[in-house]
């Protein structure tokens, strides 16, 4: 099958939806004439023009709020945050307006908006540019959060997100943009809220999302080869809605679980999943659920150190072996 990079797959998904629906517009800093800070939208402005692909000033609260307002009338804006970290200057718009306007109107309104961008560390951009707030966003009823780990999922999920009638926050990863995966020619969608077992195994379940899935798969191979540990890797793909069934089924089979994520530990996604597992698989568990997160510190700049701070293959192996 043909291979596409994560970046190309996203671009293809975005382009297909732009062509499919006149209500789809892309806005963000440098998405048009500059071709995207990370080139996700490369060539789209030349092809689709100013009306559909719009460069914005550095006013995230303003233009994201504008997108939310326009979405109330039926526009389907896809807003790029150059870094998802910049959501914090637009937090009120993203958390209050996008999530609550439907409820506060008694269901008269919905906001079919997508807010996407890279949410990750690992490239030496430091503490303020490396936030991964999927936990905080998924805490908010009314919002949806997806974190694709592969090109295939990125394309299928961005298309589903754009067609979704609720706000979908779509978190990517700059370290994945250049990686390639099989992506079919023919159109497809990946449903939001469906996890994907990316590796089957019987001894331990690793639950992860985003790039940590890729690291977990690498770790699984080594654990198999060197430690004879047969690991199942469950890629959540969506954080909210959450495919709890997939997690439970896997843990009921393996009796052991490790949650891996790039976020800081306190109240991370792994905490929610650990709680889920202990409540639904209490008698199935042979050992406590373990969690592996970024070392609990602001993202450090120094690249070799940041590699140690983030989950990496070695840390995953160590954690997997430590699951009693």
């Amino acid at each position: 099958m043909r291979k596409l990079t994560y970046r190309e797959a996203l671009r293809e998904g975005l382009s297909e939806e732009i062509e499919r629906d006149d209500n789809v517009v892309i806005m963000g800093e440098e998405v048009a004439q500059y071709n995207g800070a990370y080139k996700v939208t490369e060539g789209m402005w030349a092809k689709y023009g100013d009306r559909r692909i719009m460069d914005t000033p550095i006013s995230e609260a303003g233009f994201i709020g504008m997108g939310i307002g326009a979405s109330m009338l039926g526009l389907r804006p896809v807003m790029e945050l150059m870094f998802f970290s910049f959501a914090y200057v637009a937090w009120d718009q993203m958390i209050n307006n996008a999530s609550a306007v439907r409820y506060m109107s008694g269901g008269k309104i919905n906001c079919p908006i997508v807010i996407r961008g890279p949410a990750n560390g690992g490239t030496g951009v430091g503490a303020t540019h490396s936030h991964t707030p999927e936990n905080a966003i998924a805490n908010v009823p009314g919002l949806k959060v997806v974190c694709p780990a592969t090109a295939y999922d990125a394309k299928g999920l961005i298309k589903s997100a754009i067609r979704d009638n609720d706000p979908v926050y779509f978190m990517e990863n700059t370290l994945l943009y250049g990686e390639s995966w099989d992506v079919p020619e023919e159109e497809y969608l990946v449903p939001i809220g469906k996890a994907d077992v990316k590796r089957e195994g019987k001894d331990l379940t690793i639950i992860a999302h985003g790039r940590c899935v890729i690291l977990a798969l690498k770790a699984a191979e080594i654990l198999q080869a060197e430690h004879d540990l047969d690991v199942e890797v469950v890629d959540l793909r969506s954080i909210r809605p959450l495919d709890e069934e997939a997690i439970i089924n896997s843990v009921r089979k393996t009796h052991r679980a490790l949650c891996v994520e790039e976020n800081k530990p306190f109240c991370g996604v792994g905490a929610q999943i650990s709680h889920l597992i202990q409540s639904k698989c209490f008698d199935d568990l042979d050992a406590p659920v373990k969690r592996l997160s970024a070392l609990d510190a602001p993202a450090i700049y120094s690249e070799p150190l940041e590699k140690l701070q983030l989950p990496n293959v070695d840390r995953i192996i160590k954690a997997a072996l430590s699951v009693g």
């Binding site: 709020g65 008694g106 067609r163 809220g193």
Partner: protein, 366 residues
């Protein structure tokens, strides 16, 4: 914008100037009565809601619009099919003006299932998208980018439309508003930002919250945006200056920052214990005596021979009756069901799931 400046001075001296504006000359007697009736309905509705609050039938916040009626009625009366409206939490006046019913509005205050938001939004969150009314927003300044988006949609679809986005004099110092002004001018978005300047943000006077020259609206110059200042007690002036701004939006797709001076008679919310401490009772009485928008328009219409005391009394009585009836309706309406707490959150949950997986996360306590 010198011409506008002149108009501003103008208003101070010669209120009749605006009665003569085309948008007002075109008003038939019935139209004028309708404008008056809408202002009266707002006031009576809110007086009734205040009673209900004091009786304990309404909780939470209740921000009354009494004194500012000519702003909502005057501005919205100029709008057409593709003109949209969005405001902050002081939203009852705009709601009734766009045509929302007293019943649904009062029931919302009572937190009843028959309320315009099914009892989920409350006083600060009235919405009527079918009437181009987009709320009702509680976070100061938070509605200003939304209003930009409503207006952007008109332009994107090639409609001759606009959005009137209201905010208070205290809200002008929220960052999101500044970002919105720049975007509106930069992208030629047909939005009209209307600062309802009632002189106070809670207990803080305009002078203690904003640094400015001449007027808050003049800040628009920094964004190369047209602006004007307007006396909010004269509905003719409000309509005249709103029409100029709307025309600009419709024909040039250019934004306007319109500051309308007005006054609120009650406290910031009905819970405002200091409403007569941060401003003198004399100040309030002075405004009521000399600038009450309903009284002024009533007098004007009588002078124009369009209205008689008797007709006025009837209109007023009808409004009171309507308000009382709405309170009765609200009283008698049921509260939302417990199940409804988790409805109206996700479109897909209300209309059939399109996604999979768990979407609500409480531990079920078997």
């Amino acid at each position: 914008m010198p011409t506008l400046e002149v108009m501003k001075k103008d208003t101070k001296t010669n209120l009749e100037g605006f009665a003569a504006a085309p948008v007002n000359l075109s008003l038939k007697p019935a139209d004028k009565i309708k404008l008056l009736r809408e202002m009266i309905r707002i006031r009576r509705f809110e007086e009734r809601s205040l009673k209900a609050y004091q009786a304990g039938s309404i909780g939470g916040f209740l921000h009354l619009y009494i004194g500012q009626e000519a702003v909502a009625v005057g501005t919205i009366s100029v709008g057409g099919k593709h003109d949209h409206y969005i405001t902050a939490y002081r939203d009852h006046g705009h709601a009734l003006t766009v045509g929302m019913g007293m019943d649904e509005c009062m029931a919302e205050l009572y937190g009843k299932a028959t309320g315009c938001s099914k009892g989920k939004g409350g006083s600060m969150h009235y919405f009527a998208p079918d009437k181009n009314y987009w709320g009702g927003h509680g976070i100061v300044g938070g509605q200003t980018p939304l209003g930009l988006g409503l207006a952007f949609y008109q332009k994107y679809k090639g409609l001759k439309g606009s959005c009137l986005c209201y905010l208070g004099d205290g809200a002008v110092n929220q960052g999101a508003f500044h970002e919105s002004l720049n975007l509106a001018s930069l992208w030629d978005i047909p939005v009209v930002y209307i600062i309802e300047n009632n002189g106070y943000s809670m207990g803080t006077s305009e002078a203690r919250s904003s640094a400015f020259q001449h007027s808050l609206a003049k800040r628009a110059e920094g964004y190369n945006m047209d602006w004007d200042v307007c006396m909010g007690h004269d509905i003719y002036e409000v309509r005249a200056k709103t029409e100029i701004a709307m025309k600009r939006a419709h024909e040039k797709s250019r934004p306007t920052l319109l500051e309308i001076d007005t006054y609120r008679y009650e406290g910031h919310s009905v819970a405002d214990a200091n409403k007569k401490k941060y401003r003198s009772p004399e100040e309030i009485d002075e405004y009521k005596k000399t600038k009450d928008p309903i009284y002024l328009f009533k007098t004007k219409l009588i002078a124009e021979g369009v209205l008689t005391e008797e007709v006025y009394e009837t209109i007023d009585q009808e409004a009171k009756n309507e308000a009382n009836a709405s309170a009765k309706f609200a009283e008698e309406s049921p509260y939302p069901t417990e199940e409804s707490i988790q409805e109206d959150i996700y479109w897909e949950v209300d209309h059939g799931r399109t996604s999979q997986g768990r979407i609500f996360f409480n531990d079920e306590q078997e």
